[in-house]
């Protein structure tokens, strides 16, 4: 699975639910958006091996 922001490749076999991916990456679901291609996806959506995924952080410190 290709992840952006920061850009990296991770070995997580699909299919995997978005909320499970976020958990396996050690992230809090309140602190990120998950974007497949250019579309937002919900926690219950299923991601496949070839998907291009952006895990976008949303927490700002100002």
């Amino acid at each position: 699975m290709h992840l952006h922001n920061p850009k990296r490749d991770v070995e997580i076999p699909g299919p995997v639910r978005v909320k499970d991916l976020v958990k396996r990456l050690g992230l809090n679901r309140e602190s990120v958006l998950v974007i497949r291609g250019d579309s937002l996806v919900t926690g219950d959506a299923t991601l496949d091996d070839g998907d291009d995924i952006e895990i976008r952080p949303v927490i700002s410190g100002g």
Partner: protein
């Protein structure tokens, strides 16, 4: 939550604290309604008033500007350059591109050009964290921009997470004076424009989602000066709680507004009685010289 709560179509965003998911159109409608109700219930902006929106180039300020325009407000934006190298240049670009695409007015101010210092230099000169000089400069200069431009109200993009984190910090140290001032509307007084925060019912995950869905480009990178600051730690702590107890942040903050703030009215009034005028710039101040003039004196002594 495999259907949009409003229309039943496939959803694109879930909002656990509302136990709901929304499709793109209904989520945008939800955000606009949250803002419209907040403005009405707190009497933030009256019909016909001209708001000035503080724009950073980030998701929150661009989202609230977009929502206000969609709700029919004649809102201009103001961008304040902070002198944080490439980060400031990049964020200004996002603000300017949004204004151009939407055909609206963005006023641009620049601290290094107009006052002779940038935030990193101010932090060094004062030996305090950069966010301290940054917040102080924004409060002073954006207020001045609203007054100078003849606007009725200054709008900021503070969201639910921002307010809950500030509240958490103020409660940890029982800063009763800060708590008394933490209001969604600060009324206009001598030298102060009215300041309002219409995003207090929307989390920052939702403002980011709003921008993604409306194809609003914003600066995703965090300010390099903010890395590791206390505010971020409080947000992380609250998000750990929120993940286990959806709605905890909203209950914490919104119940503070309902139940605690009225008890602090006396503290706020005492504070107002102490405010005089800065002998140098004429801005409201509790001291002879206001905090911003003191900052300029230390960060750019040659300009005083």
């Amino acid at each position: 939550m495999n259907k949009c709560k409003r229309c039943g179509e496939p959803p694109v965003i879930d909002v656990p604290r509302h136990r709901a998911a929304f499709c793109s159109d209904c989520f945008q409608h939800h955000c606009r309604e949250q803002v419209r109700r907040t403005i009405e219930s707190h009497r933030m902006i009256a019909p016909g008033e001209r708001p000035l929106v503080a724009i950073s180039g980030g998701k929150d300020s661009l989202a609230i500007w977009d929502i206000l325009l969609d709700l029919g407000y004649d809102a201009d934006g103001v961008y304040l350059g902070l002198g944080i190298g490439d980060y400031s240049e990049t964020s200004r670009g996002f603000a300017e591109r949004y204004a151009e695409q939407r055909g609206v007015t963005l006023r641009v101010l620049d601290i290094p050009t107009e006052h002779g210092f940038g935030i990193p230099g101010a932090a060094q000169a004062t030996k305090r964290v950069p966010c301290s000089a940054c917040g102080l400069s924004k409060r002073h200069l954006l207020n001045q921009a609203a007054l100078d431009g003849g606007y009725d109200v200054l709008v900021t993009g503070h969201n639910l997470d921002d307010e809950a984190a500030v509240l958490f910090g103020n409660v940890l140290q029982w800063h009763t004076d800060y708590l008394a001032r933490q209001r969604p509307v600060l009324p206009a007084t001598d030298g102060f424009a009215r300041r309002v925060k219409p995003l207090i019912r929307i989390s920052e995950r939702e403002t980011a989602a709003y921008c993604v869905l409306k194809r609003i480009d914003y600066i995703v990178e965090e300010c390099p000066m903010a890395a590791g600051n206390r505010h971020l730690r409080y947000k992380e702590t609250l998000n750990e709680l929120e993940e286990r107890t959806p709605g905890a942040k909203a209950v914490f903050y919104l119940q503070f507004l309902d139940k605690m703030l009225p008890l602090l009215d006396g503290v706020a009034e005492e504070e107002r009685q102490l405010v005089g005028t800065c002998s140098r710039c004429g801005a409201p101040s509790t001291a002879d010289v206001c905090a911003f003039c003191k900052l300029v004196e230390r960060a750019a002594p040659e300009s005083v």
